[in-house]
Every structure is written in structure tokens, then in C-alpha cells.
Symmetry: C2
Subunit: 329 residues, 2 copies
Amino acid sequence: MKTIACMIFPNFQSLDVSGPLDVFSEVNTLLGPEKGYELLTIASRPDPVVASNGMTLVPDVVIGQDHKPFDMVIIAGGPEIPFGFDDTVALDWLRQIQPRCERCCSICTGAFILGYAGLLDGKKATTHWLHTDRFREFFSDTLLEPEKIYVRSGNILTSAGVTAGIDLSLALVREDHGADIALQVAKRLLVVAQRQGGQSQFSPLLTPAPADGSPMQKVIEYIHQNTHRRIQNAELATVAGMTIRTFSRYFSKEMKVTPLEYLELHRIEIAKMKLETTSRSMKEIAYECGFGSTENMRLAFMRRISIAPSNYRQLFTVNRSRPSQPRRS
Amino acid sequence: MKTIACMIFPNFQSLDVSGPLDVFSEVNTLLGPEKGYELLTIASRPDPVVASNGMTLVPDVVIGQDHKPFDMVIIAGGPEIPFGFDDTVALDWLRQIQPRCERCCSICTGAFILGYAGLLDGKKATTHWLHTDRFREFFSDTLLEPEKIYVRSGNILTSAGVTAGIDLSLALVREDHGADIALQVAKRLLVVAQRQGGQSQFSPLLTPAPADGSPMQKVIEYIHQNTHRRIQNAELATVAGMTIRTFSRYFSKEMKVTPLEYLELHRIEIAKMKLETTSRSMKEIAYECGFGSTENMRLAFMRRISIAPSNYRQLFTVNRSRPSQPRRS
């Protein structure tokens, strides 16, 4: 039996806790608790802890309280975590326990807590797509892999947004008990064994907005108006009123991607929106978004978000009929 | 603002609660709580409630306590619920509140609680695939639709196993606030807007085992040994030592499906296993499982589990390399 401590704190995201704990708990149902996991919530104070969705939890263990060693620690995320975390008791405990446990895992923005504890320096990590810029800014010594659903770096495992904690936990069950048990658990929870595509299929293109009135703002507008056409650097440099070389340097510095990367990412964004909201054919969408051919569009999708346009459409199409009126009986 | 009460009880499944509440809570983040939802847990007693995964919750409201009306009620499931639920306070409250609220929802085995309260008579419903037989036995006046991820019947909405509660909640957000908000919430939680396929992609073929030594046991064994071949009723009747008509009646009575339905379902089961565990081609698998052609296999998959074999493989393939050894640093 392995003992798992799941760290909670005010305003934590409850799915980050329930997801992993329910995965490990299903193993107990299948194999019996002796072969499975002892599951505990831990907090820095004994008081009840309110999650971001309002659920109130009583922690099972308080940090500092005598307890047999934990094999694994799970750190939940929460909507305020990217803006700071001042619980020094929790951070001290993490620094102390990380080298001694088999696995130290974060879910979603829980990666920030590992970062604040100084445990991600020189490590690879991932976190919720919504906060990748802030993460890079805070933890420049960490190699962020925002595309990944989860990332292993030594005994530290970080996972992407919210339900990615379920994927990470299933992977650990696979390590501990084999693929069959993990698949059985997945099917009992009605989740898939392996996600198609990475985290970025869920995220919009997030680039810094160019400063008002900057030459790059004009270029971005030009790209947005001409997405359907083939565009080259020379043309964009002319819009900016710069030489190609100066323009490329300038753009990359302000936008964090090269002009052609931005163009491709923007095309994918527009294509995603058309796939979500229209029933137009792949061919039409590929041309309207400037990919030139469906095959080019497919290759760009696979390269950037690891999922084909047709699969993207199946997963993210929503019925856009008018919301029905609430019915009261 | 709508007020949502989520009913909890000892040994409830915490994902059934966290999933829906986190969906509605993300709407609050996007639109502000005034346009969103007030979220409350409710129990029949004020004491802390321990979930099946060990998490301890303090309910926000106790049944009977004065409170403004609830617009929506969510009833979680739990591993023991299919075997009984004797909380008469909770059942009385449900019977009282169901006609008065806009939506009365169950997650997973929570449908059994609605059934025990007598609220599903003459209604359509779904529940966790693991408990469909028991559900049908207990609630013969309910039309169970085990394939569906969620089912609406008047103001009662029931959802399939565990994470199907997230799908149901997203559908309700779509009704209340439109497809765009629902899609934004889905992407923030890293879930898809629309699942491919129904619940049965997750479930194994569950048919009653034929009685030991019954003629049907011999037939089942024969089917299992000859899955790769074309088999007709006449051949199976010979194995059973009966006329075709008697055999068909006998088989259907004992196995709850016709012989040819059983054959098709069994072929799908074997194909699913081969898709999960091998890298053999669709053509090979189609022939080995007696479908005769990949197109026949595809049609059978679509008809029975609403997902194509190729998609099934992507979702349920797991890396079957030996589990790696635990690493301690």
C-alpha cells in the first residue's frame, strides 16, 4: 500500500483533488486497499478549507502532525495560485518532503506552488494553459512544456489544467499496477485511457497584445485582415515600414514568436473557430484560413496542437441553436 | 442567479460533486456570480460527510433548515447506492422538492436515489454502465437508456457514470448561457465540448452468465471458439440440440439478447480488446473477429457503441510495456 497526501488550502480547485483521489480509490475497489492506496488530505491548519467552488473540506492530517511517511504528495491548484501563495508552513513542508517521497505531483496551477517552493529550478514542468505566460515570467529557470498533459522531471510530476490530474493519476496507476488496471479504472470513471492531442487543443492563441500605436499593431491587424492569402515576411516588413531583418527582430521581441509562426498560429485559431461554429467543409476552411490545402492545414494542426482538424471538429463542435427557455413545472 | 443544491451522503463519489460544481463555478468566474450560480452542498444531517475516496466534507445546508428555494438539485452517486439507500429524510425531501425545482439531476448511480424516491416511474433515465442490470431489476417502470451520456425526462435529468456529470452540467450551462460560454468552461477544465460515442464505449459486454451445464452454456462456448467464422442460428440450434425456433426463444430468455445480437456484441468485445492491446490492422482485426470486412466492423461499432473502431483505438490504446520500477531518489 502506498500513502498519498493531497495538499489543500483555501480556494483550491476541488476537481484537482477529487479527480486523482477517485482514480486511486477505484484501484482500491478493484484490488483491495492492501494493494492500493491510503488517501489523505493535508493542510497547514486544522480548520475546514473552502474550495473555489464552495465545497468545504476537513483535512485529514495537519502539516507537522506525526504521521508515517508519505509515498506520494499531490498539490492541487486554485484560481488565485498564479498570483501568489504565502503559506510558508506548506512551502517549508514541500521543500522538506519532496526529496524523500517517491513522487511529488502538482495538478493544474499547483505547479506554481512547487515553483514558489523553489522545487522546479532546472526542471521541466507544465501547468494550466491559461497561466503559461505568468509561469514563464516567474520561473525562468524552469523549462515549461505547455503542450503536454503531464511532464515528469525526476520525482516531480506536473500536470496541465484541472482534469489533466486524472490523466496523470491514470499514468501512475499504470506504472504501479499495469495497463489493464489503469484501463479498467478509466472505464469506470468514464474517461479515456489516452487523450488525443495535447493541452493546446483547449487553449486559444495567447500572445501578448502589441502596444497601442506600435508598428507591430498595424502588422497584426494586416495579418488578421489577410489571413486567407499567402503572406510573406517581405510584405509584412513593408506594412511595418522596416527592412525584413529589422522587422523580424522587432516582431519576435514584441510578440515572442516569429512573424511566420504567428501567422500559422493565427490561421489555426481562425480554423478552430470555423470548425467549432460552422459546418463548412475542410477544404473551404483550409482555403479561407490561408492554408492553401487541407493537407497543409492538417500538418499545421498536428504540428501545433497534436490533433487533426477532423478530430478537433468532433470534440469541440457545439450545437449553437438558441439556448432553450428554462422550463418550470 | 440560480441556486444549486448538491445532495451528499456518506460514501458519495466526490467526482460526482466536484465535476458539476466546478463547471458551474467556472461560469461564475467568466460572468460573475450575479449571472451565474450559487452553489451549496446539502445533507440530511449537519455532521461531516466522508466520500468514498476518503475526503471529508462539511455540508453547507441541512435538509429541513430554512433556505430560499433551490432552482436546481444535483444528486451524487456512490459505490453502495445500487445496493440500497435508507435515508428517509433525504428521500422525502427529494419527493417534495422535485416538482418545485427547475431541474432535478442525478449523476452516475445517483439515479438509483431518484428511483428509490419513486421519481423515475414512467420516465427515461440513465446511470453508470456497471449497474444497468440491477437498475432494470429495481425500476422496471423506468425506460433505462444505458447508452446515453445523459437523458432528459421532464425536469429530471440523469447522467451516466461519474465524469458524465461534467457533460450534463456543460449541457445545462449551454442552455442557460449559450454554446460559447459552455465551450469556454469546457476548455478551462480541459474537457471536450461533446463526447464522441456513448457510454457503452467504456463498458464491457455485460450479459448474465448462463447457468452451469445449461444448453446455453455450450452455445456460448461455441460462439467464443468460432467468433472468427460466419455463424448462423441453425448452426447454434444444432449445438444446443434444439429446433431453431425453440433455441432462439430459449437463448433470448436466458441471455436477454437474441443469438445474433449476442454474436455481434461478442465480436465487438473481442475487437475492442484487440484494438486496445495490439497494433494489428483494422482489416486483420475485422477478419479475426468474424465481421468479414472493415466496413461491416465499422457499421457494427457505430450501431452499438456510436464510435468508429479507429477512434476507439485512439482513445483506449494503452502502452503495455512493463510497468516501470518505482524510483526513489
